[in-house]
């Protein structure tokens, strides 16, 4: 079982990102689950979203999770939420920030001795899509770090998932995914 927790603000696209990732993975024959905690939370409120991936049917519906990967798609949540809660020894963090990994870990001691990757999904999204929607770039970074799928296969799958959007937006998302793939460290 592969488990992922997203830390996001309502409106930044974590739910869409988690569902999009589940959709791509489902096409390769694996079983998937994507859900979120948001209740009545309004735009901008801190929230979490989740993915489960397994070779067998996923029966577990508990919300509790000890994630293999933690995605943080808003830079401030590293300080205002506990992004390390329920972690495992080998949990991998991919965090959106304008800082280097070293600077980030220095600013948040909880991340010391953790496996941390950084990428500026906010800046990438602003420069490509034109809006601070950091969900698709995060998935590009995840493809690089996890080596889950070939990036070209992943982008082709995302073109299908984003299908209803205008071509210009789809193209911008593809550039954002590739940039995050190339820039994550």
């Amino acid at each position: 079982m592969l488990e992922i927790r997203w830390h996001s603000r309502a409106g930044q696209g974590a739910v869409t990102g988690a569902k999009g990732l589940a959709d791509v993975i489902s096409t390769t024959g694996k079983h998937v689950q994507a859900f979120a905690f948001y209740g009545s939370a309004k735009r901008g409120a801190a929230m979490t979203a989740y993915n489960r991936v397994n070779d067998q049917m996923i029966m577990n519906h508990e919300k509790y999770m000890e994630p293999d990967f933690v995605f943080v798609i808003d830079p401030a949540l590293v300080y205002t939420s506990d992004v390390t809660i329920n972690h495992k020894e080998n949990t991998v963090y991919i965090i959106t920030t304008h800082m280097s990994t070293q600077e980030l870990v220095a600013s948040q001691p909880k991340l010391a001795d953790k496996k941390v990757y950084t990428v500026d999904c906010i800046k990438i999204a602003q420069e490509t899509i034109g809006k601070a929607i950091p969900n698709t770039p995060m998935l590009g970074a995840f493809m690089k770090v996890s080596k889950m799928y070939d990036i070209e296969f992943f982008k082709e799958s995302m073109v299908r998932i984003l299908g209803k959007l205008p071509q210009k937006i789809i193209d911008a998302n593809m550039i954002a995914i590739q940039r995050a793939y190339d820039e994550v460290k």
Partner: protein
């Protein structure tokens, strides 16, 4: 037919709400009258979008309340159409008066209930308070454990509800957020398969058949009221379960997916068992398998049909168990839980007389973790080992503060 078909992949990643909306599209609902409420909103929103995009030939009626939504459904069903809507929680509570009208008038309406807590305090998350509120209303109640079930059970619901020997409305329940907003792989039917399964709507005593005028919703005092209610109850008790079983059999032939009135998991030789509904059934199955690896013979019984209550089937499923816990996701407010009471009724006359205790859990969406279930199975095994119930009969799982237990 004047609508477009939709190409679906064999497996789509859908949440429970979208799965239900797709089933409504494929069943080609004539009328949806709705007043959207969290977390069921995307079901009627989905139908409205399919309608606007030309994938359904029907009518969406916007109303001013859930009471009006069900009233609109009653009118449309009496007129002679295939009718559905969706609601949750406070909306369901406001609908209650009209639920009894729908079942008493023997109108085949399908209501998707996305289970949610009842205020106060206000809470949008999933528990079974609304489901329990509807259990004496004369409706058939089917329960989904995951998005796949939410999709499949809608087809079953129309098939059973519209059968001329049944003619009773049917609710399809799914857990708010835990199913409704959780995306999982859903194996789809093609539009032709889905519509073919439910078939064309066959009206009965429809008001728009002017050659054969009928009256709906009449008054009967003590001269006839009891006979109407008794016959409705008789049909629920004797006709519905065989029709549901037949629909499950047909559906298995079509899709390969098998449903049962009572869903037994590892019950053949189980010493300890939990009885529950909704997503908890699946989580409990996973934990039961893990308990068996530790040497505890654990099993799970899920109710697929809540009403009519499958009394004999549950008795049969649990006759070999030694210790049983019921899991009620609704505050009983001054009594043992509904499942505890119902199960006590069906186990009382068994010669084996298993030990029965009741747990209240998960109110307002509180997580039921695997750890909770491990502890529960362990406690049930302790009862078996001691030969008696070692705890109070009613306990709360997952509530903070002082441990609550009663009876």
């Amino acid at each position: 037919m004047a609508f477009d078909k939709m190409e679906l992949r064999d497996i789509e990643v859908w949440d429970g709400n979208f799965a239900a909306a797709q089933a409504l599209r494929q069943c080609q609902i004539d009328v949806v009258a709705a007043y959207p409420i969290t977390p069921s909103t995307p079901i009627v929103e989905g139908y409205a979008k399919f309608l606007a995009d030309g994938y359904v030939e029907g009518e969406f009626v916007m109303v001013e309340s859930e009471h009006a939504a069900m009233s609109g459904c009653i009118g449309a069903a009496a007129a002679g159409g295939r009718v559905a809507t969706a609601t949750s929680s406070q909306g369901f509570a406001l609908m209650v008066e009209t639920l009894y009208q729908a079942s008493g008038m023997r109108l085949p309406i399908v209501l998707n209930v996305v289970n949610r807590a009842l205020a106060a305090p206000l809470n949008v998350n999933g528990d079974h308070s609304d489901m329990y509120l509807g259990r004496d209303s004369g409706w058939i109640q089917l329960d989904a454990y995951c998005p796949q079930d939410a999709y499949d059970l809608n087809f079953i619901a129309f098939k059973v509800s519209e059968d001329h020997e049944v003619r009773l409305p049917c609710m399809v329940h799914q857990d708010g957020f835990m199913t409704s907003h959780t995306a999982q792989g859903v194996k789809t039917l093609t539009d032709d398969q889905g519509y073919g399964f439910v078939g064309d709507f066959k009206p009965m005593n429809d008001m728009l058949d002017f050659e054969h005028p009928v009256t709906h919703g009449v008054q009967t005092e003590e001269d006839w009221h009891f006979e109407h209610k008794a016959r409705q109850h008789n049909d629920l008790m004797t006709k519905v379960l065989p029709k549901i079983q037949a629909a499950f059999d047909d559906f298995e032939k079509l899709s390969g997916r098998k449903y049962s009135i009572v869903e037994k998991y590892d019950m053949d030789d189980a010493d300890v068992a939990v009885v529950c509904m909704g997503t908890s059934v699946e989580t409990a199955r996973e934990v039961a398998t893990e308990m068996r690896a530790k040497g505890i013979k654990a099993g799970v019984v899920g109710l697929r049909v809540v009403r009519p209550f499958p009394f004999m089937q549950l008795q049969e499923a649990l006759k070999g168990a030694k210790a049983i816990a019921t899991l009620d996701r609704s505050s009983p407010n001054g009594a043992p839980g509904m499942l505890f009471n119902e199960m006590a009724g069906c186990l009382y006359n068994l010669e084996t007389r298993p030990m029965l205790c009741g747990k209240v859990y998960g109110l307002g969406g509180r997580d039921l973790t695997k750890k909770h279930l491990v502890d529960l199975f362990t406690e049930l095994q302790a009862n078996v080992d001691a030969g008696k119930i070692t705890t109070p009969l009613q306990q709360f799982i997952g509530v903070r503060g002082p441990k609550l237990s009663f009876l």
